[in-house]
């Protein structure tokens, strides 16, 4: 049977897009059934499912859904590798690594800074300014959050200081990108270097070789009284950090603001057709400035979570590329807050998995540290459908 004949099946149930998505699902299932709590110890079901995934992907590619089809094939192949790895590991190892509640909790912890960054990115890019400097703004929030919490003896004030620091750096980016009409990717890169220098300089100047003090006021975890004792949910979300909850609540909040309020409409119009918005009387420059500064504050909150909410100290270049993963999450989420949430949860899960996998096998664990970045690569290759950035993203607006 040729691919063409299969693709010619007319029903909606077997359209290329449905086949592609179905293939992806089959591929994921092929691996998941070898994990606890299912733990199918035979290779046969996984191989069958994986072959089905690859086949569906091939047909989808032939039918026109190239990206979906290719990613379905990739996932199918990767699942075979994953299933083989699971089958080779002992029951005890699998049980130790795949504690789902701990995995989800860890995923949330890893996802929080990414989420703040991605939400900041969404606002900024929706107004038409590319913000490559999210990494730098996150780093500023990381250092100044803990500096503020240390000097002012309060995590809340520390977060405020972080937001101010991030906002100031964002102001620099805004001035260069909006008024001076810079190439926004280049200016964003400059912002990142600047942040690296400023944070390192400030850290060395004030804390020197001893590092930040040990018992700085940290952002508290929210202990949910009832859920805490309910098995999976207790472990997963029973004591998530306050900032995590703020981030999660920001998602529907931002969605409402962006898509259901006048201000959100103005923001989006400035990002799509600034000339038209200007004609109607919307201040393009002012909205872009606000959007960039807000994105800086949000990214700084994400960075502050790292130092004041999770680790409790600061080290140089602590953000380690998270700002860029946040950008990828924003693209993956098609510039929508909910999409950004799912994307950051996925990347957070990859990070959490890499962490847990490093316990039974530390050497291999280092290799798995690359997993979130590989996942981002696949995501940025445009796995799910077409994503269109705001029409005037990156184009400086010239008032006439």
């Amino acid at each position: 049977m040729s691919v063409g004949t299969i693709a010619a099946v007319p029903s909606r149930l077997a359209g290329p897009r449905q086949l592609g998505i179905g293939g992806l699902v089959l591929g994921v299932v092929a691996w998941v059934i070898t994990l606890p709590p299912f733990e199918v110890r035979s290779a046969a079901p996984s191989i069958v499912l994986a072959v089905a995934a690859v086949g569906a992907g091939a047909v989808a590619t032939g039918g026109g859904e190239r990206k979906l089809g290719i990613s379905s094939v990739l996932v199918g192949l990767l699942s075979v590798a994953g299933a083989v790895a699971s089958l080779k590991s002992s029951h005890a190892t699998l049980g130790a690594v795949f504690v789902w509640s701990a995995l989800v909790a860890a995923a949330l912890r890893y996802a929080t800074p990414l989420l703040f960054g991605a939400l900041g990115g969404v606002i900024c890019e929706r107004s038409g300014v590319i913000n490559i400097g999210l990494e730098g703004m996150m780093l500023m929030g990381c250092l100044f959050g803990i500096y503020g919490a240390d000097v002012l003896h309060s995590w809340a004030l520390g977060l405020l200081v972080a937001m101010i620091a991030g906002g100031l750096l964002a102001l620099v980016h805004a001035v260069f990108s909006i008024h001076l009409r810079a190439n926004q990717i280049v200016s964003g890169t400059g912002i990142n270097f600047l942040a690296l220098g400023i944070t390192g300089y400030w850290f060395t100047q004030h804390y020197g070789p001893n590092g930040t003090p040990v018992n700085v006021s940290m952002v508290p975890n929210v202990k949910l009284p009832l859920i805490k004792h309910v098995g999976f949910f207790g472990g997963a979300i029973g004591s998530a950090n306050l900032l995590t909850w703020i981030g999660l609540l920001l998602v529907p909040g931002l969605t409402f603001v962006l898509f259901r309020t006048t201000w959100g409409l103005r923001l989006r119009s400035v990002g799509e057709k600034p000339r038209a918005a200007d004609t109607v009387g919307v201040s393009v420059y002012r909205i872009r400035y606000i959007a960039v500064i807000v994105s800086g504050m949000l990214a700084a909150l994400g960075g502050a979570y790292l130092s004041v909410g999770f680790v409790g100290s600061f080290s140089n270049d602590m953000t380690e590329g998270r700002g860029f993963i946040a950008l990828a999450a924003m693209i993956f989420g098609k510039w929508k807050p909910w999409g950004a949430l799912w994307a950051t949860l996925l990347f957070g899960f990859a990070n959490a998995l890499a962490d847990r996998l490093s316990q039974p096998n530390p050497t291999l664990g280092t290799l798995f540290e690359a997993l979130p970045y590989v996942l981002t690569l696949i995501a940025v290759a445009g796995v799910i459908g077409r994503s269109r950035s705001p029409a005037s993203d990156g184009i400086p607006y010239v008032r006439e």
């Binding site: 926004q184 990717i185 220098g197 390192g200 693209i331 280092t366 690569l377 940025v380």
Partner: protein
């Protein structure tokens, strides 16, 4: 009418003088001057900003900068410096050039992509991959004749870097994946692969040093010969000539070959290039391959010239790929400019290193971050030539000719093609 316009329109009293001051000549003069003066002015402004930071944190900027300058070895060029001080300066100059050579290549790696309108932030990952391959080949095959061994290591490192960059290029060509994100992700993948390979218990860790996360050491037949200075004390090796030769190759390819013409056309206007029949996707791949080659060779020069092995800590803390971005931008993506910018940054890095900088004048760690800040200001100023040009022209509205991507070009982050 301003003074500029008077010169253009008023008839000269001497006919010859007026011809000299024709609009075409003046424009060309201004353009050429702008091409040289703007980076210089940018650098001066950046150092000024750095000086302000130094002042604000309670140090003396003048003595700081002087201490940094003394550490660069550039005073060796002054004929009135002699004796012991000259010998010191010679050593420092060797170090400066040792750093400037791979910086130059990393700058070329970024600059070549910029001319095509691509933003290659993946220099660090391409460098890392090149370093891994260089140290692997350099520490094996100990019987080989030196020239062959060195050539093999350099070519292999260049090829490895090319492949690594080619991944990003291929992704951009086939799926439209934004190269900024993909190259940054490839950076981190390369770093973690490198750490995995050379960590304790890793597959390529040196079996002779079981408690140190380092690679095997490069054998004598693969070491680049030193031509100035003491080989045992990290003298200057011939790698600097290889780097300069590749800069000439960059210039030749960009300005004298069909590939270079394609690259520049695609950089100015991809749609026009497509209309002219050029395969833009394939051009992107070719460009990224070249860029990765430059960065990979940079790594081989470091490994075979003075490093001779690779620690996991080196892999994680190296920033040379990122310095390359600033070097390329300051050098305005041209071969000559990149050479000058690489020299400047090489001098800055050497002058602020902990070996050279007197801690009583200025803490070397602080100086390192000061360098980052200066680098950041330089990149910010380059992103908009408007400031520096405006200063040059005394405040008039100016337009900018961008080599590569113009500010008006949509530099949008696209997830789809």
């Amino acid at each position: 009418m301003s003074a500029w316009d008077d010169e253009l329109t008023s008839p000269g009293e001497d006919g010859g003088e007026a011809a000299l001051r024709s609009p075409a000549r003046l424009t060309a003069f201004r353009h050429g001057l702008g091409g040289f003066l703007v980076p210089v002015l940018t650098t001066v402004l950046a150092f000024l900003a750095g000086g302000i930071v130094v002042l604000l944190t309670g140090h003396n900027p003048l003595s700081t900068y002087q201490a940094v300058f003394n550490g660069t070895g550039l005073n060796w060029l002054f004929p009135w410096v002699g004796g012991g001080e000259r010998a010191n300066a010679a050593f420092e100059l060797q170090q400066t050039l040792l750093i400037a050579a791979p910086l130059l290549l990393c700058g070329l790696a970024v600059g070549f992509a910029f001319r095509a309108g691509l933003f290659n932030i993946g220099g660090q990952g391409q460098y890392t991959v090149g370093a891994i391959v260089a140290v692997w080949i350099g520490s094996a095959f100990s019987g080989m004749p030196a020239v062959l061994h060195i050539a093999l290591a350099i070519v292999a490192a260049g090829a490895a870097g090319a492949v690594w960059a080619g991944i990003a290029g291929l992704l951009k060509a086939t799926t439209g994946a934004n190269e900024v994100i993909s190259t940054i992700m490839l950076n981190w993948v390369a770093i973690w692969v490198g750490v995995y390979l050379f960590q304790l218990g890793g597959p390529l860790q040196d079996p002779a040093q079981k408690s140190v996360p380092v690679s095997k050491t490069v054998v004598a037949s693969a070491k680049l010969p030193v031509f100035w200075g003491n080989p045992t004390l990290q003298g200057l090796d011939v790698g600097v000539f290889i780097a300069l030769a590749l800069a000439v190759v960059f210039w030749a390819v960009m300005n004298r070959t069909r590939l270079g013409y394609e690259v520049r056309t695609v950089g100015f206007n991809p749609d026009a290039a497509r209309y002219a029949g050029m395969n833009v996707g394939r051009s992107y791949v070719k460009v990224m391959l070249m860029c990765g080659m430059f960065a990979g060779v940079a790594a081989s020069l470091d490994i075979l010239g003075w490093k001779f092995n690779l620690f996991t800590n080196d892999i994680q803390t190296s920033q040379i790929g990122f310095y390359g971005i600033a070097v390329a931008l300051l050098g305005r993506n041209t071969a000559g400019g990149t050479v000058a910018a690489a020299l400047l940054f090489g001098a800055l890095i050497t002058g602020t290193s902990s070996r050279n900088l007197n801690p009583n004048v200025f803490d070397p760690t602080l100086a390192q971050y000061l360098t980052y800040m200066i680098e950041g200001v330089i990149v910010l100023l380059v992103s908009t030539d408007l400031i520096t040009l405006r200063l040059l022209k005394g405040g008039r509205r100016v337009s900018v000719v961008w080599r590569g991507r113009k500010p008006e070009e949509p530099a949008a982050l696209e997830g789809g093609s």
